[in-house]
Symmetry: C2
């Protein structure tokens, strides 16, 4: 079967317009407009049992997270929605969608609705349009010597998913991190002028760091000991190597991952202080290729999977 | 279950931005950019047995048709694609997609790919971005006394679908009209300055004419005798009332339907002559509401269904 990486590689050959950034980026640029399109599918990105209001939140949040990584302010969204024959679900989705539009300060511009047979997994698509207010960071552009930074804490959503699936016990706070990721819009705008490359962490910090490094033609080192873990995560999983590796390869964090030169450190910390948002150095870029994992500076083996490789399983 | 009209009515309450035109239009406006999002779903908008190259064409064509109705020139598209585990299908889709991008002179700007379980109906979403080169007609704006016009011929795609399903015999040309609708981009740009309202015919001429009238706060009359039927359609279905009504309620034509005052007639005919495209008067607008069907000027009963009412069945 076609894997997503193989399909995307084939698509890249079609994306010849400079605005597409060779599909190496998470958004397209048209003048000062930033456009991104992400789908979420039942059973893949959300659970059939997830509250519909949370699914609406997630659909908007994962797309606005891409705008955040480009330092853009949301302008509006177009939605593709499948009606799967459950009126109550649709009502609750719509109520949540309206509330999320207000909370995340964006607008519905248009879209399309299609009825599918009941039982068909829902497939929801969203195009988000944002306006750049300054430089628009790409996935590429990191320089050797740059530090690798991440906002917030890592692994919470992954733990939340396991709690929602009943695999482990844990707090509602972690489940909420899985169902209601927070797009880092303010942080994205404040950081955009300070970074050399930026993306959001959707598929796992290690995998996304590897992508950032590859797009920039560099190698990256990630230090497990530097991973920012929440108190909720630590109370459920502890802080040993296994817990840290699980956090580093879990998806759905929707934090910002970026590269910046050493001289930006004070400005970046100031952004974190102003927004009350943890922003941590978790690694560094150097010449070469690939990704290396260390623990307190000592190299350790990479886990078999760096993250959520959609479709590769 | 929620019907599409009911769901769209609820969405409308959320679309408060002027750029959304209250979702009464088929596209949103941001500055001189026109944005539209349409999905096509296997088993609803295309058949599992349709050639993947044709599905790629249709996905692009139905979206560019919305741009055509706004008089816009395509800038680029973002695609949401489901990988359903059939490598050969995906390869053929991609080859067709690339070829269609070139033929229709647009570009791939971005998108998203999601793996779904084999056997899940494919759900393909596309956001098309266009640039307006002049006035951008809406669905609303028709005036009492305006004539109702349509480009090309009507009913061919509906007959083509029935041929593809093996329900009737007929020519490959009609099947092609179903699988490879031609977005009327040049005609849309040329007509945009001449019309008071314009949309594309996707769900059936009668239904879409009723929508155009309703959005404009008017009544419309459609004359069956004036319907432009192709030679291919006539050879399969004849020209009796049944054949004409079937043509008027069949979907997937993707022709342009528009309102224009009498004094524009010569200019509109000149556009048709220049493009080698039939453009016909099929009715008129008047004060009131609803739609009336006539045959050579005499009122006749409306058919039970005006067109393809997605999700209402």
């Amino acid at each position: 079967v076609t894997t997503e990486p193989a399909f995307i590689a084939a698509l890249r050959a079609l994306a010849t317009d400079p605005a597409a950034r060779g599909l190496l980026d998470d958004a397209a640029l048209l003048g000062d407009l930033v456009l991104t399109h992400d789908m979420i599918v039942e059973g893949v990105h959300f659970l059939a049992a997830d509250p519909p209001e949370d699914v609406a939140w997630k659909l908007l949040a994962v797309n606005l997270s891409d705008l955040a990584a480009k330092g853009a302010t949301p302008v509006g969204v177009l939605m593709g929605y499948t009606l799967a024959g459950d009126e109550r679900w649709d009502e609750r989705f719509l109520a949540g969608f309206g509330e999320t539009l207000r909370t995340l300060e964006t607008r519905l511009l248009g879209g399309d609705t299609v009825s599918v047979l009941p039982g068909t997994p829902r497939s929801l698509g969203l195009t988000a349009v944002g306006r750049a207010t300054g430089p628009v960071p790409a996935r590429f552009g990191a320089q050797a010597g740059d530090a690798l930074w991440v906002t917030g804490t890592i692994g919470d959503a992954g733990a939340g998913l396991r709690i929602a699936l009943g695999e482990i016990e844990g707090s509602a706070e972690l489940v909420r991190r899985y169902r209601r990721p927070e797009p880092r819009l303010q942080a994205g705008r404040a950081l955009a002028p300070l970074v050399t490359a930026m993306m959001d962490v959707s598929d796992g910090l290690l995998l996304d760091a590897a992508r950032l490094a590859e797009a920039s033609g560099l190698a990256a080192t990630v230090d497990l000991a530097a991973l920012p873990l929440s108190a909720a995560y630590r109370s459920v999983r502890g802080t040993d190597r296994r817990a840290r590796i699980d956090a580093a390869v879990a998806g759905d964090d929707y934090e910002l991952l970026f590269a910046a030169p050493a001289e930006r450190r004070a400005e970046i910390q100031a952004v974190g202080n102003e927004l009350g948002l943890l922003i941590s150095v978790v690694g560094a870029f150097r010449t070469g290729s690939g990704i290396e994992l260390t623990e307190g500076g000592r190299p350790i083996p990479l886990p078999p999977s760096l993250g959520w490789q959609h479709g590769s399983s």
